[in-house]
Symmetry: C2
Subunit: 427 residues, 2 copies
């Protein structure tokens, strides 16, 4: 696949949201077509990303990391968009994070040369896939997580059975009792680090944890949770350093999702015998949202005492297709088009059919349910009663990841909903 295929692929009307009558276009040509979402130039439903909010988010998060003296390796799983990967790297990201080798391949194709797989890798096909990628791209660094001797033994089996493969770079994952992956105890972690150090199949580069699963949005609880976890991580890092278990010039210390990254950022710096690079791995910040991450960031802002610069950049537009009963309007958008895993979408704006101006959705409007291809917009007030077939409604989302993965391309729009650019995704 060429760089053009990845960064500037051909899009056509087989992809939802693309105008039916348009000839196929390179992604980079879309911004020049003069399309406007509110004018009816594009079929609905349509996910859009607000250009200015996106640019602001990319800059703010990079600035946050720089201000705290840590690097940023944004999680690519959120967007899986080569164009956004490039913009994150161009904004100053240290590298990118992925969940699988397939995702890693997309990132490398987009130009990433420092990559973390924040996940266990152990199958021969995946280990070989990383080795092949490193051979094909000189200087490519890929580190993945290890949290068990059993996983290490599988890596060693592959390494022994394979001819002429490099040792793999790994991060020791520290976990939390009752939670997901990661070593539960200091002793277990240290014993695994010693095995990793001794193994010819692995090079231990640093320590990883993920604090995001424990986040509640309640600052007292979240501060205590993050502190306890990061204390354990730092104690293990110190012990590994004292025993000279790290096999690298620069020790990586990484944590940080999109919910309480402010509570771990400063903990990723510590004096060890070699330089330490702290790395945050937030992913959802790129578009932010109107739900879960909006609430988490309110708590971050309260803790920071100075606000934050993230703005919800993603909306999904749909049309009212039926007003079958008082208080109920059915929208042409459903589970195929928008996040519903953390909470249902929320109406944020509307635009009566044939008009160009948008109005904020009144607070009585609620999405009461989603089918595969329909949404139930309920409301009690006069604005809801005034809704007509053909009116447009914008929905905000909760959880960017599960809206991105429902679109193969997404237009970027300006404040007037003119399409000024586009990204593609490769889920």
């Amino acid at each position: 696949m060429t760089a053009q295929d990845i960064l500037d692929p051909l899009l056509d009307a087989g992809q939802k949201g693309f105008p039916h009558h348009s000839a196929p276009l390179r992604r980079s040509a879309i911004g020049g077509q003069g399309w406007n979402v509110l004018r009816g130039d594009m079929p609905l439903p349509l996910a859009v990303i607000k250009r200015d909010a996106l640019a602001g988010n990319l800059a703010w998060m990079q600035g946050f990391a720089a201000g705290h003296g840590v690097g940023l390796a944004p999680h690519g799983k959120t967007t899986m968009s080569p164009q956004l990967f490039r913009r994150q790297l161009d904004a100053g990201a240290w590298g990118l994070t992925f969940a699988t080798v397939v995702q890693l391949r997309a990132g490398v194709a987009a130009g990433a040369r420092r990559c973390i797989i924040a996940n266990q890798v152990f199958r021969a096909i995946d280990l070989q896939g990383i080795d092949d990628l490193k051979r094909a791209h000189a200087g490519l660094q890929v580190a993945f997580l290890v949290d068990s001797i059993a996983q290490l033994e599988l890596i060693e089996s592959w390494h022994q059975a394979s001819k002429d493969v490099q040792p793999v770079d790994v991060l020791l994952e520290i976990g939390v009792a009752g939670a997901r992956t990661g070593c539960r105890t200091h002793e277990q972690a240290l014993a695994l680090a010693q095995r990793l150090r001794a193994s010819p199949a692995t090079r231990l580069l640093g320590i990883e944890c993920y604090e995001g699963l424990g986040a509640t949005g309640q600052s007292d609880a979240d501060i205590a949770y993050a502190q306890a976890l990061m204390q354990r991580v730092r104690a293990i890092a110190k012990a590994c350093d004292e025993q000279q278990l790290f096999e690298t010039d620069e020790i990586l210390l990484t944590a940080g999702g999109s919910a309480i990254f402010d509570l771990v950022a400063d903990q990723l710096k510590m004096p060890l015998s070699r330089p330490v690079r702290g790395l945050l791995r937030s992913g959802c910040y790129a578009t932010h949202d109107h739900g879960t991450y909006h609430r988490f960031m309110n708590a971050v802002a309260a803790r920071m005492g100075c606000g934050h610069g993230l703005h919800a950049a993603m909306e999904v537009w749909a049309a009212v297709q039926s007003c079958p009963e008082p208080g109920l309007a059915i929208l042409s958008v459903g589970k195929r088009d928008i996040s519903y895993d953390l909470e249902l979408p929320m109406p944020i704006a509307f635009c009566p059919q044939g008009q160009a101006g948008i109005t904020a959705a009144p607070p009585d409007w609620k999405i009461a349910g989603l089918n595969d291809q329909h949404a139930y917009l309920r409301g009690t007030g006069a604005e809801h009663s005034a809704l007509r077939v053909g009116d447009l409604v914008a929905l905000g989302i909760s959880h960017p990841c599960t809206t991105f993965d429902k679109w193969r391309w997404i237009p970027l729009v300006d404040a007037q909903y003119n399409v000024c650019d586009a990204i593609v995704t490769c889920f």
Copy 2:
């Protein structure tokens, strides 16, 4: 786009599940590669479709429709797979059903020439899109739903403003109070039918309803619900026929999702002044599932008194990546890969690392949660305690639609999980 692009596109390692090391391949070449899922030839997670169950399901549903003297227009939104569209048509389907004009385009590209859009269409871009498609494909029939005068007025505005466009073919949608789209009353439906008959912009072809949203799985309730709805539909069809509101040689009467289609099939036949074609629109039958539709079909079988021939054809395979605590194994599969909207996936089988034989999952195994890229497999018995990193686990699904839309291609496998064919999707 050529037929080859649609039916036999080039796949490559950018698509999850495709072996990292393989060169790009035409879809039709995949079955000849000798890949085996259990042998580790493909990265996980991986959705697979069991070839024989799929073939059986396609044949059984077609036979059910034929046996009841009605046609089948399978809902394409479930799979959005041109290869499966072709197989459904080749199996004898009257046509295909879609939810949007974008989906319709994919179906027409795959060869469908009789199409229903089981949804309201009213925006100029979509109406023009249908008109363009009909011009490009001689003999193409497309009928969509109308349920309000407001929608009709938008269609008429488009028709008046457009030069040289054909009237659109429509079906009158009958709905249920408190439910989704569709006319709520006999009077409302008849008044709209009269307006449709009088309008130069529309041709009324028949009557539509969707009974699936009211299905509970309790036969007594479902029989009463379907009977009441179908009585209304038939009364409206009769009234429309008496008033000569249908503008077609053959009147279409269509209902039928995948849950209680047996309760509406016979109601789609009735003596009117012109021939009546009954049409079922089930979509999920192609792969069936291990959850919601499995339970619905148990009730169907009980009502039929002779069993049914649908078998769960879709599985998602993942590897155990960590066993961090007794009773907990973390699998490399998450919300990006598998349905979670109706219920969480269910473990159905496992295969210890390096072995080729599979064992049924014990009943104490449960998926307790999903993150974006992880699943939590909990269990209490000895088999769970014996799970090791690298072991493979197969998950069954509930709701095929929301697993299909997470994959751009899916291999077909035989009973030994040899990959013998592949389909692509175009969501």
